[in-house]
């Protein structure tokens, strides 16, 4: 097992270099530069432009800039934002808990509803229930976030008035946020109603962000389950007279979980992508919104650093999935 994990970690090194190179070069392939964009319509003389580029170290050759950057990253220095002038790492970690909290809640929703729904659809194959579940999943899968989010806001916040429109917590609450997770910090604050407020703010964005992964997980669970339910050992178990709940719950589910766990792992990437839109719509102060703004401002250090940190997180999640995979199915450890 240890060897298996080490092998997986070794693969991460070239991936890391590849990602850093891509993050560095792609953003520079975009036309425009941060200095021009900051001046906007005001324009700049070539001399002023050159001076500003020099101040930012953007007048050096690209390979030199890359080496400088890589050297910094290896010593834990991701540089400072061109715009806010704050260190990228501070900027990232001041926003990351918001994204993580939202993503975890979305993932709990997606897994908690997606897997049972998929199982139910597989067991009740051919029924109206299956058609209903799968039809809903297809609609959910096709739902564009930029449309689905505002729709829910108009319905639940605007017309029904059940949930707040946007943000993480009502503005009347003001307390220190040591963990950055609003659900936890609101409890720690001891202020009455703070936790409920944080929770009510989380509901809509979590539903919106969970919709696509939920649909994918439900569909994947159903097809994996159907496949497993057709296997000989399941038939044998049934023939032995084992109660159906045990057959499905113990024998079938564990084997059906392998592709589902992979799918869940892959959905982490989908969540990150979905977070960008969800955060923008719900004014959720996470890293998705931050990265998009930085692309528009050509804030090179932020985009590079942000992408790299996100990539590292996704790589680590995939590593964890691989390891989990090895636990569920021992044969995989030897391939």
């Amino acid at each position: 097992m240890l060897q298996f994990i080490l092998r997986r970690i070794a693969v991460l090194v070239p991936t890391f270099i590849g990602v850093s190179l891509i993050a560095f070069s792609f953003i520079r392939l975009l036309p425009g530069d941060p200095v021009i964009l900051m001046a906007g319509e005001h324009g700049m003389t070539p001399a002023q432009h050159a001076a500003a580029m020099h101040a930012l170290g953007l007048d050096k050759s690209l390979p030199l800039q890359y080496l400088d950057y890589l050297g910094g990253v290896l010593t834990g220095d991701f540089g400072s934002s061109v715009v806010t002038k704050r260190p990228v790492i501070d900027e990232f970690f001041s926003r990351f808990p918001a994204t993580l909290e939202l993503s975890i809640c979305a993932m709990i929703l997606a897994v908690g509803i997606g897997i049972p729904a998929g199982m139910l659809a597989a067991i009740k194959r051919g029924s109206v229930l299956e058609q209903g579940i799968m039809g809903t999943a297809l609609i959910g899968y096709s739902m564009p976030i930029f449309w689905w989010g505002p729709l829910l806001i108009i319905l639940f916040s605007g017309i029904l008035g059940w949930t707040p429109v946007s943000g993480r917590i009502s503005l009347m609450y003001y307390f220190p946020t040591p963990t950055g997770f609003m659900l936890i910090d609101s409890l720690l604050s001891g202020q009455e109603g703070a936790f409920t407020s944080a929770l009510s703010h989380l509901v809509l964005p979590a539903i919106v962000l969970a919709t696509i992964p939920l649909a994918v997980i439900a569909r994947q669970t159903r097809s994996a389950m159907l496949e497993v339910l057709g296997e000989d050992y399941v038939r044998t178990a049934r023939a032995k007279g084992m109660p159906p709940r045990r057959v499905v719950g113990i024998h079938a589910l564990r084997n059906a979980m392998i592709p589902v766990v992979t799918t869940i792992g892959l959905q982490v990437g989908v969540l990150m992508a979905g977070a960008i839109l969800t955060e923008t719509i719900f004014s959720w102060p996470g890293i998705g919104k931050w990265m998009v703004d930085s692309v528009f401002r050509r804030d090179y250090p932020v985009i590079q650093g942000g992408l790299l940190i996100i990539a590292i997180i996704i790589m680590l999640v995939n590593l964890a999935v691989d390891v989990l995979y090895g636990f569920i199915n021992p044969r995989i450890r030897h391939t």
Binding site: A39, T45, R95, V165, I281
Partner: protein, 532 residues
């Protein structure tokens, strides 16, 4: 589900009750995050609203709701006869707002003023490059690095500015955001503690509000400055709830989560006006959108061709289609709200038949040209592509084939700034300081040729001598006359098709009192209050 509904309703009720108790907290749904809190480093209105207009003051201020100047931290000033030396007499008893991180030990004085300008002016100043890649963009783009010779302390309450040439717009420039006065005592403390970067993160100013906290991309909190020299504000607390989506801002305003918001979607305005709990303020913006012909190229070097093209386009259709009526057709290169606007100038009439005839008279047949359309939405032009398509269709009616081109925004500005760019460029401008020089000289002056300011590449001697003379004259009536003449020449020579001045819409709760729309586009909350 029922239980969840109950809980949610209860929490909503609780928050409504609580907000009724804390009535003097105004929540403003702002459109974006400030880039930082040192206004001299930036050029965007979003940053200025959150920093210079709330926390800081300047020597001279724009009168609330107008572009007229009024004494700020300077109670009076003298100008030398040759117009190159300005001596400012500072107000007594002005205090910097105390915060958790800084307690001022003295009142604002000449050292603070000298510090605020020298850090931008002098290369060797330790604050000239205090944060990663500091560039004082606005200071340079207003020409202050060549205009300002020196800033000196005469005594504690007197500061002398020496200019390299007389400049009538100088006073208006001092009311701009980059001219905000910072505390030297605070800067010294930061330098001593080795955290100079905090000047841009934890601001200290003399303004109506003091900074409490900023949670990136979420909330900025301020409280009224108890020692404000112009009297404590009626609002106790001011909160910016950062809400980038216009439709979400609208929902928040309707549900009472905030009391005021900028930049609604044009499509939402009718619905907002119908809402009984809301009021919607409107004001023509201090801006212009235009299509600039590159007059250094054939056939646009011929004024008849430019006039013919101007007459071919139905600008009312653009105002209707792009702004849903929330704009007005532009005639002059400056907006009607600006002083010296020449009402007697007539716009080129919409007359496609005559336009066709004029093109034929000029000997132009089968003209093919580029129209540049900005890739981004700007306050003066919400949808450049749509406007370009209308112009393209109108041009087709007089036999001109137009091809719409667009580039990424930074690239667009860069390419439009090259003298040999091809065709007609759509661009616009929002006034910086309410001075006509900031439109007429900046956008149409000979100095701007070959830069992204004067994309018509138009340099007219008569026009230039008028605006130059106006910039050197301090007599306002004389300046009005000169600028009005300049606008006449502009219309005769038609380097641009003037498209529109957009209307600025500010929806807010009826409880908000005393809010004044600012022609320069700021959102100021001094003198604002909430009724019960």
């Amino acid at each position: 589900m029922k239980r969840i509904t109950k809980v949610l309703t209860a929490s909503l009720f609780a928050s409504v009750m609580a907000s009724a108790v804390q009535a003097q907290t105004l929540v403003y749904c702002s459109e974006g995050s400030p880039e930082g809190f040192d206004p001299a480093l930036y050029t965007t209105g979003t940053t200025f609203d959150a920093s210079s207009r709330t926390i800081y003051n300047r020597l001279v201020e724009f009168k609330h709701g107008s572009t007229e100047l009024t004494p700020g931290l300077a109670k009076s000033w003298d100008v030398s006869d040759d117009g190159t030396v300005y001596t400012f007499h500072l107000r007594d008893g002005v205090k910097f707002g105390a915060t958790d991180y800084f307690k001022p030990s003295r009142d604002m004085n000449a050292d603070d003023v000298v510090f605020s300008f020298n850090r931008q002016l002098k290369d060797g100043n330790p604050w000239h490059d205090y944060a990663n890649g500091t560039t004082y963009t606005y200071f340079s783009s207003m020409g202050f690095d060549s205009l300002l010779k020196k800033v000196e302390k005469v005594d504690d309450k007197t500061v002398k500015f020496t200019l390299s040439r007389p400049s009538a717009p100088f006073l208006a420039d001092l009311a701009m955001d980059f001219s905000s006065i910072m505390s030297k005592e605070y800067a010294d403390q930061l330098k001593k503690n080795g955290n100079m970067g905090d000047l841009n993160q934890k601001p200290v100013g003399t303004g109506p509000f003091t900074f409490v906290a900023y949670q990136p991309d979420a909330v900025i909190r301020y409280k009224a400055n108890p020692d404000y020299w112009d009297g404590k504000q009626k609002l106790d607390n001011l909160v910016f709830a950062i809400t980038p989506e216009a439709s979400v801002r609208t929902q928040k305003l309707k549900s009472g989560e905030c009391q005021i918001m900028p930049y609604p979607n044009a499509a939402d305005v009718a619905g907002l006006k119908k809402d009984d709990s809301l009021q919607v303020l409107e004001q023509p913006g201090l801006n212009i959108a235009y299509l600039a012909y590159n007059v250094s190229q054939k056939p646009f070097d011929n004024v008849k061709v430019r006039k013919a093209l101007n007459m071919a386009v139905d600008k009312k259709a653009i105002v209707q289609s792009v702004f849903q009526g929330m704009a007005q057709v532009a005639t002059n290169p400056i907006p009607p709200t600006m002083w010296s606007y020449n009402k007697s100038v007539q716009d080129d009439p919409y007359d496609p038949d005559k336009a066709k005839q004029m093109l034929a008279d000029a000997g132009v047949k089968n003209l093919k040209m580029n129209i540049w359309a900005m890739p981004v939405s700007r306050p003066y032009m919400l949808n450049a592509r749509r406007a370009a398509e209308i112009i393209q269709a109108d041009f087709k009616k007089i036999g001109v084939t137009a091809n719409i081109v667009s580039y990424e925004w930074g690239e667009y500005i860069k390419r439009a700034g090259q003298k040999d760019h091809d065709g007609a460029v759509m661009l616009g401008w929002t006034g910086d300081n309410g001075d006509p020089d900031n439109f007429l000289n900046t956008l149409l002056g000979c100095d701007g040729v070959g830069t992204s300011n004067n994309v018509a590449e138009w340099c007219d001697k008569d026009f230039q001598s008028l605006v130059d003379k106006a910039a050197r004259t301090t007599d306002k009536d004389e300046r009005v006359k000169l600028y009005q003449q300049a606008q006449k020449i502009f219309k005769q020579q038609a380097p641009w098709m003037t498209i529109d001045h957009s209307t600025v819409i500010m929806p807010m709760s009826k409880k908000v009192q005393g809010f004044q729309q600012d022609p320069l586009g700021f959102h100021r909350f001094d003198d604002v209050s909430l009724s019960q």
